[in-house]
Symmetry: C4
Subunit: 271 residues, 4 copies
């Protein structure tokens, strides 16, 4: 699809408006649920004690003191991954359910969406992410402070190369799953592909978080990183969360288009 396609198509402007609204509201809902789970989780009794708070109010703790243990890691990964599942489930028929500039850019580079549509989506995603994060801070300022707003940052043990490499590889895997999920040729011969598409997409986001939350909080989504950085005013190493996901996602998208999209079908699952 070319640049003009969107604006010339009958109903194109209305379709684009509906899609942009869906991207805005669903990215805001994504940030509210996912980063809200991080901040409210700081008030659970075990986490609050580990952070040095004498109660669960967290008024006395240092910024960023919220404890990351193996348990709330699982809760956090589930909140990010499964909110992508339900929001892609619902938003797919409005906008395709990108909710992520790295996905939108990979889709644009492979001619799946026009430049105008890509630009509208990314602006709506970034605005939605800021709104979602601001609502979390308004609802729970102490938890927000203790968790630094769930903003992405490199943990002390990780260096720039680690963060960049992990974001790049994980987003490449993520985009591979997304491109397979929307591959109509393959989906037409494989009963599981269209039906489970939003679940597979949500679960791969869950898996990225299981791996990368202890490293850099896990981005794989520049809008998510941007929204929390704006609201928490935390910009250290912020470029990593744009360059890693966009480069990894674009590379996987272009590789899929060049190789996988034309590859012959093999049959059903595990045949």
């Amino acid at each position: 699809m070319g640049l003009l396609h969107e604006t010339k198509a009958p109903g194109g402007a209305w379709s684009l408006l509906a899609a942009g609204l869906a991207e805005f509201f669903c990215t805001a809902a994504f940030l509210f649920i996912a980063t809200g789970t991080v901040t409210s989780g700081c008030h659970t009794a075990d986490t609050a004690r580990q952070s040095g708070a004498t109660d669960q109010e967290l008024e006395t703790v240092e910024p960023g003191a919220c404890f990351l243990g193996s348990t709330n890691l699982l809760n956090i990964a589930m909140a990010f991954g499964l909110s992508i599942f339900v929001l892609v489930y619902a938003a797919a028929s409005f906008s395709g359910g990108h909710l992520n500039p790295a996905i939108t850019i990979a889709m644009f580079l492979t001619s799946r969406v026009s430049l105008v549509r890509a630009a509208v989506y990314i602006i709506c995603q970034l605005a939605g992410a800021i709104v979602g994060s601001a609502l979390v801070r308004a609802a729970d300022p102490n938890g927000f402070k203790a968790a630094l707003g769930a903003a992405n940052r490199l943990n002390t043990w990780a260096n720039v190369g680690t963060g960049l490499g992990v974001e790049l590889i994980l987003t490449a895997i993520f985009v591979f799953i997304v491109f397979a999920a929307v591959d109509k040729k393959r989906g037409a011969h494989s009963a599981h592909m269209p039906v489970l598409a939003p679940l597979a997409i949500g679960i791969v986001v869950f898996l990225c978080h299981l791996v990368a939350v202890p490293i850099d909080g896990c981005s794989v989504n520049p809008a998510r990183s941007f929204g929390t950085a704006v609201v928490a005013r935390t910009w250290a190493h912020h470029w990593i969360f744009w360059v890693g996901p966009i480069v990894g996602g674009a590379a996987a998208g272009l590789l899929y288009e060049a190789l996988a999209y034309r590859a012959p079908l093999f049959g059903g699952p595990v045949e």
Copy 2:
């Protein structure tokens, strides 16, 4: 559907009776499983010790002493969300599987159910919730006391604005997913929508609980809050758990009807 539709339609009374019974039994089962997981979880060894009990009998602990850690938070969120999944899965063909006055009211305001049907559903949901909660107290009086019957209440660190705002936003997201799941126009063009509908609905309830259990125990369902309040005799801030979910759900339902229902289709997932 108008008010008269239900009573004039052939078989309408019998259909309404079957639907009301389904709402009653399934809401009772929902409370039994979900709040029963909260109360029986107070007897696990780690939770009991944290509560100050010398054994797992909990006979000596203060009312409300049951510990909320990041681990049982996950168990609780799963119990609420996944019981909604299986009960909506089974009840959908009897009553639509509302199990929640906030859903029924949003459905009524958008003419998806009649006033008579809405009233019958809500009465059956409230009665079912009381029965489910009473069975939990009968089975495990000490766990019930330690957990205050899993009744909703604002945690000490949260104020009225936080509780009301979070209930309103989460129920709005919940109702958006439900309305998308039952949107026949979109479902006809999207293989994943009708098949995964009860799973998406259950998972969004799970996500609401991940966010809001540390804040106010998470309602998003006035029947669930009413049932436990009646049995545990805990009415502090109870109005929040009616106003928040009903206003948030109604707003999302009316917005969906006005904007989203008429929006053009975009295609398959993430296309």
Copy 3:
């Protein structure tokens, strides 16, 4: 189907043999995975320390010393529920995937299987459960001792009425989900019902365990309780795990047949 149906039908004997073998092998696999998760989990570092073992070998701990915390509760519930999901997924086309005498009896009482088939299934389920539990003991005798073989028993805080009531109610909910899942009339009008059937059945088993593991280890399946009781030689209150599930399951099955099976259809999920 009457008593003679199975033996007179063409290929009936061969079909019954295949079905019995499937029930035998899959019930053995169920016990191996589910109770094996309980016993091997006693060797994790946190659990072993809580049990008083100085290392993870558990050679020095008392029988039954294995710690039940809120974390391994979740692992255990997942092992029971999700192994039912995958085994029903695979066994459904061989035998229907009962793997549980309470299901088979409810199916027999509502004329879904013949008396001969019900008897063959139950014998195969009981034999399979013994084999699965014996393999767990052979692989991990110390973990088996520490966990008392994952046999069902009333925890100290629970009395007979609690155990019996909880088993009865949970199995009734379980059988309601199973009967809805195999209700062909409803399934024909509801895209989600046939596709998600084994997942809904597995998840309701998971939920029963979340509620009842802290109470009595959770049975809802006399074969599972019988297999571990035989191998662990633990028979205290064993009758509860037959009477509760069978009475609860039979009541739910007969009620479904009398009321729900004939109830009018309402439409898709949550309509």
Copy 4:
């Protein structure tokens, strides 16, 4: 299919190349996500403290000091099982999504893939596993050291017979689920089988890990064990992770072919 089939079929060489690439990339992604979750999990605060590290950098801990508790056990099992779900979901239409020599050998022995194809797959799986594990070490050398690269090894309490027996039984159950999932005759009469196939396969891998991670880290996949052994240079008892999965998988595959494949259909789930 015979040996010559692959090379003579039109497009056979191109199909085989695409399939081999899919097996290579997806096995690398599997190791990166699954063993990366093990190593990065060693940096969470609770795990790091238990390992004796004064901070989360893990520079001072002994090789292999990473703590296995009941919580990170769940995270690990989910990472292995759910990455198999999403990768089989996407790779099925390229190669069948084996990602495991034990599956490929069972498929070859039952004439589901040719000798040439089996050899190409296994070489690609082994190479992919090495690449995936090497990327984990490059990204997180301290976590890799603390977890011994997530290599399989017998825990101190387990002997060779236990490890071999558990790997054999679990892989047999795993292959039974896989063979049922790709059984076209059964799938044609059972709506849930083709749609849920990759989910059932991923969940059975999750269950194998719940049982066997405390025993030997869980293999059920020689490529996964080989990749980590090469990169971590840990070869103790390595043969177990080839012999157990291959013998168990082959036995289950041949038994399925001899008995189950020809068994009559029983109907829908749990009928």
